[in-house]
C-alpha cells in the first residue's frame, strides 16, 4: 500500500514537472466506444453500420491524434438501460474509453448521459431521439448530433398539420423515446390549432399492431401518428395497409422513419410517406461519394442518417482533440462547441451551449416505385428546414442554458 502511494506521488510529481507544454492524452490512447443495439430491433438502422462509420472516421483522420493511437471498440446494449449502464461503467473505469458514441434507445441514452456527465467523459449521441438529452438531462460533456424529437415534430408534424391533418391519434412505444416524441408532436399539433383525440401506448418491441390500429381507426382521428421506430414502425405501416386504414381515408404519419425502414417496407408499401431526416445519401457529390464508400463495406446498404451522423460526430471530436491538445472530456467538448462544424453531413451547423448540434434538416417524401431509378433511390427532398426552425429555442430546463 505504502509502496503504491509512493509510486503515485512520484508519477504525479513527474506529470507536474513535465508541465502543460506536452499534449495530454490519458492512457496513451484515444478509445472510442460505440454502444448500440447490435442484434435487436434497432440493429439495422444503427448497429454494426455505426461501428463501421466510427472506424471510417478514424481511418480518414489518419489513425492517430497528438501522436497517440485511436481505437474503436463496440458493445451491444440490447436496448436495456441496465445493460448499457454497466458496459459504460466498465468502459470508463477499467478499459480507458474516452468517448461513448451512437447510443440509440432514449432510455439507455439518458442513463449513459448521466454516467458520462458524472465521470467527465464525452457522450456523442447520434441515434437516440428524446429532446430531453439537451433539456433536463443535458450535460457539459454531452452532444446530441443528428436529430431529436423536437426536430421531428417541427418537420413531419408541422407539415402534416399544414396539409389539413388537424386531429391526431398516437400509437406510442411505451418508453422514454415514445413518450418524448408523442409529447413534442402533440405540442406542435395543439399550437397549430389541432387536437389530440387519444393515445395508445404499446409495449416495446411489439409485433402485432392490428388491435391498436383498430382503436386508432375507431377514434375517427384524421391522422394516426406513429411515435415508434425501427421494426415497430415497419410492422405498424404494413398492417395499416392490410386493414385498409389508409384506404378508408385516415392518414398515417411515421414520425421517425429511417432509410433502412423504407428498404424493408419496399416502395410499394411506403410510397407517399412523409418524413424528417437529418441526412440523405443522394443529396450532392460529397454525400454520394462518402455513402458509396460506406455501402461498399456494408453489404451494399446505404447509410441511415444516424450512421452518417456517427461519422460526422467522431470526425469533429478528433479535430477538437487535436486543437485542444488534450482528450479531457470537458475541454474537448468546449472546443467542439467553439470550432465550426463543417462536413458532408452538417450544413449551416453550430453546437449550442446545451449540447445540441443544430443543422439543417430535410422534409422528404418516399418516392413512388415508378419514380425510383434503382436500389436505395427512395427519397424526394421536399424542403430544407433551417436548423433554427427545426430545433427551436433552447430549453430552460437545461442547467447549461443561462436565462
Amino acid at each position: 500500500m505504502k509502496h503504491s502511494t509512493a509510486l503515485l506521488a512520484g508519477v504525479a510529481a513527474l506529470a507536474l514537472s513535465a508541465g502543460s507544454a506536452l499534449a495530454q492524452v490519458s492512457d496513451d490512447v484515444v478509445k472510442i466506444g460505440v454502444l448500440n443495439d447490435q442484434s435487436g430491433t434497432y440493429a439495422d438502422l444503427a448497429g454494426p453500420g455505426s461501428t463501421l462509420a466510427a472506424q471510417m472516421a478514424v481511418d480518414d483522420f489518419g489513425g492517430t491524434v497528438l501522436g497517440k493511437k485511436i481505437e474503436v471498440v463496440f458493445a451491444d446494449h440490447q436496448n436495456k438501460p441496465d445493460v448499457g449502464s454497466s458496459i459504460v461503467n466498465r468502459w470508463i473505469d477499467a478499459e480507458q474509453v474516452d468517448v461513448v458514441v451512437d447510443v440509440p434507445t432514449s432510455s439507455v441514452a439518458l442513463a449513459v448521459q448521466e454516467i458520462t456527465n458524472r465521470k467527465g467523459k464525452v457522450h456523442l449521441n447520434s441515434t437516440a431521439a428524446s429532446s430531453d438529452m439537451t433539456g433536463k438531462a443535458c450535460s457539459p460533456t454531452g452532444i446530441h448530433w443528428t436529430y431529436n424529437t423536437t426536430a421531428l415534430a417541427n418537420g413531419t408534424g408541422k407539415a402534416i398539420v399544414a396539409q389539413g391533418g388537424k386531429s391526431w391519434y398516437f400509437l406510442t412505444a411505451d418508453y422514454a423515446f415514445g413518450h418524448a416524441l408523442e409529447r413534442d408532436v402533440s405540442a406542435v399539433v395543439k399550437a397549430a390549432g389541432g387536437e389530440v383525440k387519444g393515445v395508445v401506448r404499446h409495449p416495446f418491441p411489439n409485433q402485432d399492431f392490428s388491435s391498436f390500429l383498430l382503436q386508432a381507426q375507431a377514434s375517427g382521428a384524421q391522422v394516426i401518428g406513429l411515435a415508434n421506430a425501427g421494426a415497430d414502425t415497419i410492422n405498424a405501416i404494413k398492417q395499416a395497409g392490410e386493414f385498409g386504414i389508409t384506404q378508408a381515408g385516415q392518414k398515417l404519419a411515421g414520425l421517425l422513419v429511417f432509410l433502412s425502414d423504407i428498404h424493408s417496407l419496399g416502395l410499394q408499401t411506403a410510397q407517399g410517406l412523409q418524413l424528417t431526416t437529418g441526412f440523405y445519401w443522394d443529396m450532392d457529390d460529397e454525400t454520394r461519394a462518402w455513402s458509396k464508400k460506406f455501402a461498399a463495406k456494408h453489404n451494399g446498404a446505404m447509410p441511415t442518417m444516424v450512421q452518417a451522423g456517427v461519422y460526422s460526430a467522431v470526425s469533429h471530436y478528433l479535430k477538437a482533440i487535436k486543437e485542444a491538445g488534450t482528450d479531457d472530456g470537458k475541454k474537448v467538448v468546449d472546443k467542439m462547441k467553439e470550432l465550426p462544424v463543417k462536413d458532408f453531413f452538417a450544413r449551416n451547423a453550430t453546437i449550442r451551449a446545451d449540447g445540441r448540434m443544430v443543422h439543417d434538416m430535410y422534409l422528404a417524401e418516399v418516392k413512388k416505385p415508378s419514380e425510383s431509378k434503382g436500389a436505395w433511390d427512395y427519397y424526394k427532398i421536399l424542403r430544407t428546414i433551417p436548423g433554427e426552425e427545426a430545433y427551436g429555442p433552447m430549453n430552460p430546463a437545461c442547467p447549461l442554458v443561462k436565462g
Partner: protein
C-alpha cells in the same frame, strides 16, 4: 346500444376476433411443443427459431425459385420438418435418458445459432412477403374490417389443430403414440419401432412450427427475430394448458389470444405481461396446468 366499461361493442368484437387470430398462432405453435414434450420429454426451445425458419424458407422459395405461397404452405413445413429430423437423429436422440435440462440447453443453444445465422445474412429489419392474390382485400363485418388473409389464418390453424388432435386421439397410429408415451419398453416389445416413431413425432411437431411460420410471413415481415419474440408467450401458453396436453394447448392458445386482445383495449401497457400473470395464477392454483395431469 349497450356499452361495456365504456367500450362500444363493435370495438370489443373486433378485438376478440383479432385475439382469435393471434391465438391461432399460439395454438399451432404450442400444439407442436406439447406433442414434442409429451413423447420426447424435450422442452423444445428451438421451436421459435424453427417457426422463423418456416417463414424464411417460404421467402427463399419465392425469391430464389419463384415458388409461390400455396406450394410453400406444404413445402416449407416439410423442409423444416426434415431439418428437425436431422437435429433429432444427430443430437437430441442422445439426450433422452438425461435430465430435462440438457434438452433445454441444447435446443436453446440451437435456437441462438439458427437465429444468429439468419440475422447475419438478412439483418433485423425484415423482408417483405406479399399476401397471395386470392386472399387480398377484406370483408366489412360491420364492426370491423377483416382482411381475408387473417380470416384464412384462423381457418387454416383450426383445420390443422383439429387434424392433429384427431390423428393422435382417434386413430390407431395415435394410440401407438400415446402408448409409447406411457410405456415405451412395452410398446417396443410388441414390435413397434419406437425410436423411429419418436423421430417422426419430432419432425411433425417441428413441421407445425414451420407451417405457422409460413402463415405468419405475409402478416409480419419475415424477420430473424420473429421467433424469439413469440416463443416465450407460447411457452407460457403450454404451461397454462398443461405440458403435454394436446387439447389443452389448442384451447389455451385460442383462449389466451382473446384475453390478450381484450387487454389491448382495457390496459394496453399490460398486453405483453397479462399472459404471464395468468400463468403465475394457474401455477399456484393448478400446478399441472388447466388440462394437464399430475405425473
Amino acid at each position: 346500444m349497450f356499452e361495456l366499461l365504456g367500450i362500444p361493442p363493435q370495438v370489443l368484437f373486433g378485438q376478440l376476433l383479432l385475439g382469435l387470430i393471434n391465438g391461432a398462432f399460439y395454438a399451432t405453435l404450442s400444439l407442436g411443443l406439447a406433442l414434442i414434450f409429451g413423447l420426447l420429454n424435450i422442452i423444445n426451445f428451438a421451436h421459435g427459431a424453427l417457426y422463423m425458419m418456416g417463414a424464411f424458407v417460404a421467402w427463399l422459395l419465392l425469391n430464389m425459385l419463384g415458388i409461390g405461397y400455396w406450394p410453400s404452405l406444404f413445402l416449407a413445413p416439410v423442409l423444416v420438418g426434415l431439418f428437425g429430423i436431422l437435429l433429432e437423429k444427430t443430437m437430441l436422440s442422445r439426450l433422452y435418458k438425461l435430465d430435462h435440462l440438457y434438452g433445454l440447453l441444447l435446443t436453446f443453444g440451437l435456437a441462438l445459432m439458427i437465429e444468429g445465422l439468419f440475422r447475419q445474412m438478412y439483418g433485423v429489419s425484415g423482408l417483405p412477403y406479399p399476401i397471395p392474390d386470392a386472399l387480398k382485400g377484406g370483408q366489412n363485418l360491420g364492426f370491423m374490417f377483416l382482411p381475408n388473409y387473417r380470416g384464412w389464418v384462423v381457418v387454416a390453424s383450426l383445420l390443422i389443430c383439429f387434424a392433429t388432435w384427431f390423428l393422435i386421439e382417434r386413430t390407431k397410429l395415435g394410440s401407438y403414440l400415446r402408448a409409447a408415451t406411457e410405456n415405451p419398453a412395452l410398446v417396443q416389445a410388441f414390435g413397434i419401432n419406437v425410436p423411429r416413431m419418436i423421430t417422426l413425432t419430432y419432425g411433425f411437431g417441428v413441421a407445425l412450427a414451420g407451417f405457422a411460420g409460413v402463415l405468419a410471413a405475409p402478416i409480419y415481415s419475415v424477420n430473424p427475430l420473429m421467433g424469439s419474440n413469440l416463443i416465450v408467450v407460447v411457452f407460457a401458453v403450454v404451461v397454462i394448458g398443461g405440458m403435454g396436453s394436446i387439447m389443452g394447448a389448442i384451447l389455451t392458445g385460442f383462449g389466451l389470444g382473446m384475453v390478450e386482445g381484450l387487454t389491448k383495449v382495457f390496459y394496453p401497457e399490460a398486453s405483453n405481461t397479462v399472459i404471464f400473470i395468468i400463468m403465475a395464477i394457474v401455477l399456484v392454483l393448478k400446478p399441472a396446468g388447466l388440462f394437464g395431469r399430475a405425473r
